[in-house]
């Protein structure tokens, strides 16, 4: 596979090796977004070759799934893409639900959509902040984290956790939204468009930022598909593919939103796609909030879903179910399933294989960061060192998901 369709920015002149410099960028580098290590071969400031080296954050998560009961696995998913934990929860939980054939109540579906979109905004805000910081605009970073803080407070109110919420459970939610949540959420959603305008003012119109991003790290639509890119990275090359639209899950088919695409396939295009997605996510959140109707948030499946505290105190069978689910887990029928969702970084798929019993036989995760990172060597050839950090930023990777 070559990227012959789009020539690099600068031509690489074939020069003897002693004029080149090999430099190890990372794993402790300010802008490799965690512990990514790059082996760069440089000719002056020009990148001749960039080889990513991963594995510094390997925690053996996929193997760990096999030793944990289904409901315990949710906690592990939080730690994969730690900027988008609710998305990970959702993919895992939905895979198990599909094996179990559970019917999820309407309110739970709506809350899942709402929380996932809030989480997507939070994830994009971290991307925007760090991306801008990599390019040298320091203030945007603090403004993004200020907004993200508000979302984390909302998530904390609902689930008790900020970075690792584990809010979704197989068969529904951990618990219903707390009192007053809707008003707090409404207030945030009212203020948020103004914040997006602020980001646009700080970056989008800035000539330096435009020149640092336009025409950098280009990839054509064909190449993007061939490399298996997904999410904003793919849509930044003009391919209109969004799993929320193409293969709706969790009642996304009922929502009215656009799938933003940009044709250029460069860092700027990926930037614009994500910036527009902020608005779309905001739109979906507003719709989800207005759809919230009172109702149960857990499926009617006493053998899978933990009973309410109150029920346990008055019903014998609820107490027994609780005891059995906690101590032995629940049996999942044999079978295998692959369930993709549109996470903030692209297609997050969970493959789950069950032999029956309380623990999965195999869980594999198709992490969007991992696949998107694979294209970095192609994108960065013939660019400058400063572009590398811009490209890494535009791919929006999280090492927790790459190494798993």
């Amino acid at each position: 596979m070559s990227s012959a369709t789009i020539p690099p920015q600068f031509e690489i002149v074939d020069r003897p090796l002693d004029t080149q410099m090999t430099i190890s960028m990372g794993p402790q580098h300010p802008s490799t977004h965690g512990v990514l290590r790059l082996e760069l071969v440089l000719d002056g400031e020009l990148v001749v070759k960039a080889t990513p080296d991963i594995g510094y954050l390997h925690t053996g998560m996929e193997k760990l799934f096999e030793y944990k009961k289904y409901q315990q696995g949710i906690v592990i998913t939080d730690r994969m893409d730690y900027l988008n934990p609710l998305g990970n929860n959702l993919a895992y939980v939905m895979a198990a639900e599909k094996l179990l054939g559970l019917e999820i109540p309407e309110r739970a579906l709506t809350i899942r959509v709402l929380m996932c979109e809030l989480q997507r905004i939070a994830s994009h805000l971290v991307w925007l902040g760090t991306h801008a910081l990599d390019i040298g605009a320091m203030t945007v970073f603090f403004y993004c984290f200020r907004e993200r803080e508000k979302i984390l407070n909302l998530i904390e109110a609902a689930s008790g956790g900020r970075l690792t919420p584990s809010y979704f459970r197989i068969g529904g939610l951990m618990m219903d939204l707390p009192a007053g949540f809707e008003n707090r959420c409404k207030q945030f959603l009212n203020d948020f468009p103004q914040a997006v305008e602020e980001f646009h003012k700080l970056l989008t119109g800035n000539k330096i930022f435009q020149r640092r991003t336009q025409g950098i790290g280009r990839i054509s639509a064909e190449d993007a598909i061939d490399w298996g890119l997904s999410g904003p990275c793919l849509r930044g090359s003009g391919v209109n593919l969004d799993i929320r639209r193409a293969n709706p899950y969790s009642s996304y088919e009922q929502y009215d939103f656009e799938v933003p695409t940009e044709p250029d396939g460069d860092v700027w295009a990926r930037y614009m796609v994500r910036m527009r997605e902020l608005k779309e996510s905001h739109k979906i959140s507003v719709q989800a909030l207005s759809r919230l109707q009172p109702g149960p948030v857990k499926a009617d499946a006493p053998k899978v879903v933990l009973p309410d505290r109150e029920a346990m105190k008055s019903h014998m069978d609820a107490l027994i179910h609780h005891f059995l689910i906690v101590t032995e887990g629940f049996d999942v029928p044999a079978g295998e399933v692959y369930l993709p969702i549109e996470a903030s970084k692209g297609e997050l798929g969970v493959y789950m294989k069950s032999d029956g019993g309380a623990k999965p036989n195999r869980v594999h995760v198709r992490g969007p960061s991992f696949v998107n990172l694979s294209v970095l060597p192609v994108m960065s050839e013939g660019e400058m060192v400063a572009d590398i950090v811009a490209i890494i930023g535009s791919l929006d990777i999280v090492l927790g998901e790459i190494d798993r």
Partner: protein, 350 residues
Amino acid sequence: MDTAIDIALKFAAITVAFVVVLLIVAYTVLAERRVLGFIQGRLGPNRVGYGGMLQPFADLLKFILKEDIVPDKSTRFVYFLAPVIATMAALMTMIVYPFGPDIRIPFTSITIPLVIARFDVALLYVLGVTSVGVYGIMLAGWSSNNKYSLMGGLRASAQMISYELALGLSLVGVIMLAGTLELGRIVEMQSGWHGLRWFIFFQPLGFIIYLTAAIAETNRIPFDLPEAETELVAGYHTEYSAMKFALFFLAEYINMFTVSMLATTLFLGGWNVPFAEDIFGRGTFLFGLVSAVGFILKVIFFLFLYIWLRGTLPRFRFDQLMNFGWKILLPLALLNIFIIATLIFVFPNL
């Protein structure tokens, strides 16, 4: 005997000037952190002393107490020399700036000049000495034996040498208008007309070019490529720690201060404060005081501009920076000279 007193006075002046400058520099660092904090919606250091006022001294203490790490494979002598060169070059320009007019102490006949040294080639001296500063950075990058440092050093030398051209050319307009290189005389020439004789009004283009080039000279955002922390970790001072790092840090801020002083002296009328002469009368103590305070305030304005820019702008890429310097700033500087020459030709009595 007189010469001995003269020398003693000069020493006193130098000491006072340096202490004042170092204090201002120390508080510039604090101001930068506080103002950046304000811009970015956070607090900044506010714990040490009232509102963080003692933070610079706490930082100094920290720098002194930190372990001084020297990389094994570094070229030791040069590694030690580099921060010294950088700081020395930055400090040496301090002596030529007129902080204010001669001050006569009330009820005596003693007059104290608010400038350490007056000589005819002051402006050339400033340009020459600041150019030496680039050696400090380049040698630091080279001697650390670190690839990031090396790239930072290379970037710094290329950038500073390129922008020095535009900087120098933007000053030519001032020299043509003033007809002298002596800073005191240049300031004198800008007095009168209630502030409208400041050179900024004769050559706004030259002022803008100078300001841009000066920011590049001092390696500040958006031209902070030699440090570019998100690309080169910390650029040329990646391997430096403790007091050696502090010296580089100091040099950077002194440079900011000196280019601000130069901008004030050459374009904003130096210590001239509009209407001060009418109110206090020339040569009085109050006039001297007001002028000196006016000078400092103008410098602080430039320092604030630096901080403001840092809170706002992203960073250029290396080739873009070079293109900007050679293809835009340099021709503009030449154009500026042409305009000034025409101006002088048309109005010879300007």
